[in-house]
Symmetry: C2
Subunit: 193 residues, 2 copies
């Protein structure tokens, strides 16, 4: 029955973002999204659990990527590898979706809370993946926060209007900045006030 639809996921995503911007997130139904994309509701549900997942599914993929780093990698290499893997999701042809997604989330306080929760869960998943590799708990938790900060900084810079630099390059630079900041913060080891 279910025939394969080329680019179904991206068509649904584009249709959903357009409708969220036109009519608001709350007022848009899955049926309308599928209809706008020229697909069926059942095709929608093969790709997304619900309409919220259209906006946040990518962050779940990131958490999975992180747990796939090579066993021999250092903690910093794990962060870099996770950011590199994320590159696949941020291709130039998806650049126009980023400001749309941001506008939808910015217009809805429930979605903003969801975004913060997804970030917190991404951080927890990263820390758990690092601990599973035998990383010290404190370093794992700090590295996870650094990873999420690097990712969110890189995403904002990549999504900025007019940006043409590839995500991987931006992400590596963001991670290097954060590592330099970590060194600066760690160097103030005398914390007496």
């Amino acid at each position: 029955m279910a025939r394969w639809e080329p680019n179904a996921r991206e068509r649904l995503e584009r249709a959903a973002l357009a409708l969220f911007l036109e009519h608001g997130y709350d007022a848009t139904t899955v049926a309308e999204i599928a209809d706008r994309a020229g697909l069926t509701k059942s095709t929608f549900f093969r790709h997304f659990a619900d309409k919220r997942e259209v906006l946040f599914g990518g962050q779940d993929m990131l958490a999975d990527l992180f747990s796939e780093a090579a066993p021999s990698a250092t903690t910093a290499e794990c962060l870099a590898a996770a950011l590199d893997s994320a590159t696949a999701a941020f291709t130039p042809d998806r650049h126009d979706l980023a400001p749309q997604r941001r506008a939808v989330v910015a217009a809805n306080s429930e979605l903003q809370e969801r975004e913060l929760l997804k970030r917190a869960r991404l951080s927890s998943a990263m820390a758990a993946a690092l601990r599973a590799r035998g990383t010290d708990d404190t370093i794992a938790r700090l590295a996870a926060e650094v990873g999420v900060l690097a990712f969110s900084t890189a995403y904002a810079r990549w999504a900025a209007p007019g940006n043409v630099r590839p995500f991987a390059e931006i992400a590596r630079a963001a991670l290097r900045d954060l590592q330099a900041s970590a060194t600066a913060l760690g160097a103030s080891a005398d914390v007496s006030a």
Copy 2:
């Protein structure tokens, strides 16, 4: 009309935690909390905006404390000063409330989400306070995450059953651990995978 009630805030907090544990958070009303504390509803509302605030009001106070650090302090000194200021909220006589609060939050997924959101907002407030002091954006965001991690680590250790070490001492140690971890993470400055 409103007469001053000694220790009203703490009495309300203890009554609320006891009722949340006995009957569940959702089933407990403000009227029941006030009644258990031997106070009126209007006294409750002079101390807390709603029953959720009984659990999370402390985190808002922390965000305020952070913006009061001395203008001359370094970023690391700001973190240390904020943790020191928090000490006032974690006195030995409040030690028995911590496991109660944790049990209430752990039993309710909405409260767990609220906890994550409050942590994210605390981090944002810390980063904004540092930026307002002229701290570089990347360092401000990283330092804020380090501050929140230090605080949450210290709180968990302080609240552990049987702990007798004062909060300030635990918090300073947690911050030093995180700074050492930051140094270790920053030292892997070659992030080539």
